[in-house]
Amino acid sequence: MIRCDEVTKTFRKNGAEVVSLDRFTAEIDEGEFVAVRGPSGSGKTTLLLTLGGMQRPSAGAVQFGGRDLYALPPAERARLRSGEIGFVFQMFHLVPYLDLLGNVLLAAPGRPSDAERERAAGLLDDLGLAKRATHRPAELSAGERQRLAVARALLNRPRLILADEPTGNLDPENAAEVIRHLAEFHQNGGTVVLVTHGSAADEYAGRMLRLDRGRLVGD
């Protein structure tokens, strides 16, 4: 499903060149649950954004479903992201002025259809947020916010979910709840790439990638 060939990403920071990903090469198959681990600054988030078509690598290629992701025109890449990839971030990145339903429906590619509205309501129900559908994110607990972010990521029935430390700000109970929802997605045939520090995903992840200073040091 995803193939990375010698993917390198460098940044300039305070005049110096920093290598965030160093010739990363790996293949992730459809239906895998992959955990990515590594110390801070090891390039985990960079890897995730690069896999999601959000950050062009400095060198190397990323293939998604057999297509060279960064050879696609930006609009085509955006369509692919919208239809096939869901993101979940540690800081939730919810839109503060939209209610829960509005936040989930934000993922709809155009004006939400009745079917998309029904699905959004169903997802909020599945994730235990139905009663708060008209609330705003600021009124939710951290665990509820992350579940809302998961619901948004699931709206378009993506093939892949990229989760960047989604349990980083959660207590163990809420962390387990979020991981359980990602595992459910995986059990239904979805692919998950999860960047994590903790061990909450250990029982679900079928594969572990270890990064250190941008390099893949364990698979």
Binding site: T45, G52, M54, A78, R79, L80, F89, M91, L105, R111
Partner: protein
């Protein structure tokens, strides 16, 4: 969710940003609307006041002795009325004079009272200017008389009066002006020519110079060159005090307009742009997640430009209403002579309601492009 629904919710959430943008735009529109309405009122007032000041150019036969002219107030020499027609045919927007009136002035005695009899032609204006005649219109069979004549002859509006062998109706309510007009009868040029036995003659062409130059800029040299080229048989008398007053009034208004309008536009644009930049900064994470969700640059730019258009539209409506109210409320005390002509200008209102959203969108264009070009990965990694 539609872009407009999205915009409305964001405006409701970041009320202060929207409020300050709205206030800035409303203030700018208020100033523009009020200044335009005041400029119109000022122009009307200027036109009226300068009309009341009278003509500032007097073209008299070249052989006139200026001593006699200033002593008597008119030339004892006459010229052909066709002289006026020759000058009138040269009236274009490229010459420095306008509002031509041919006149025949003579002293005259009526029932033992020494008066001035003035015959006035119709007013000639440059084509396409649509300006109203400077003087009053004298209808056929009527005359306008001064207050001293009315008192001496015991006449009032509507009374019949004989001048020579001709019978006229007094068309005006004589009012004391404290000028030679109080002992003047104004008649149609043909009537005065007939009464004085000077058919086809005039002894003066009155006009207004359009140079709007003050005396130190020497408008007289320009006028003498232009008029002398057309009518070598006349000499030009320029009443500089009147001309300067006119010129200074217009110059002041033009200077104010030249400064006020651009300043308001620049200040308004900077204000809106700064607030839009702040809005973009506040919404960096939102822009990042919209990108992650596959929203294109058009949708993101639409959120910022659409907000500017919405606020511009509301500000235009508020500003036009406020600016018009200010002028209707305070305009009459500023322009007492033409206060009845001060009204709302619906054409201006329509223009502002169309132009302000466009202006606001243009002012927000750079911040919107900043939002579009913003690298979402930067904010999404800021955890």
């Amino acid at each position: 969710m539609t872009v407009w629904a999205h915009i409305l919710r964001e405006v409701g959430f970041r009320k202060l940003n929207a409020l300050f943008s709205l206030l800035g735009l409303t203030l700018a529109v208020t100033i523009v609307a009020a200044s335009q309405l005041l400029a119109e009122a000022d122009e009307r007032e200027t036109r009226r006041v300068t009309r009341d000041m009278g003509f500032n150019l007097r073209l008299i036969p070249a052989k006139t002795d200026l001593g006699q002219f200033y002593r008597d107030g008119f030339s004892r020499h006459a010229m052909e009325a066709a002289t006026l027609d020759r000058l009138a045919t040269q009236l274009t927007n490229n010459v420095s004079f306008n509002h031509l009136v041919g006149s025949l002035r003579r002293d005259y005695t009526i029932n033992g009272q020494d008066i001035l009899l003035v015959g006035l032609s119709e007013t000639y204006v440059a084509p396409g200017q649509g300006k109203k005649p400077m003087g009053f219109e004298i209808k056929e069979g009527t005359i306008h008389i001064g207050s001293e004549i009315a008192r001496w002859q015991e006449l009032k509006k509507g009374d019949a009066m004989h001048v020579g062998v001709r019978r006229f109706t007094v068309a005006n309510d004589p009012i004391e002006t404290g000028t030679p007009d109080d002992i003047t009868i104004f008649a149609r040029l043909e009537d005065a020519q007939s009464i004085l036995g000077l058919t086809g003659k005039i002894n003066e062409i009155e006009a207004i110079d359009c140079l709007c130059l003050t005396a130190d800029e020497d408008p007289l040299a320009i006028l003498r060159r232009e008029i002398g080229g057309i009518l070598p048989e006349v000499q030009v008398v320029h009443q500089r005090i009147l001309a300067d007053a006119r010129a200074k009034q217009r110059q002041t208004r033009e200077k104010v307009n030249a400064v006020v309008l651009p300043s308001v536009l620049v200040a308004g644009a900077v204000w809106v742009a700064l607030l839009a930049v702040l809005n973009v900064r506040d919404r960096r994470q939102e822009i990042g997640i919209l990108r992650a969700l596959g929203k294109g640059g058009g949708r993101i730019a639409g959120l910022f430009l659409g907000k500017a258009v919405l606020l511009g539209f509301v500000a235009a409506a508020l500003g036009v209403a406020l600016g018009t109210w200010v002028v209707l409320e305070f305009g009459p005390s500023l322009f007492p002579v033409t206060k009845k002509a001060i009204h709302a200008n619906w054409a201006l209102a329509a223009q502002l309601i169309v132009a302000t959203p466009v202006f606001a969108a243009l002012a927000s264009f750079i911040p919107a492009m900043l939002a579009v070009s913003h690298d979402p990965a930067e904010t999404l990694r800021e955890d």
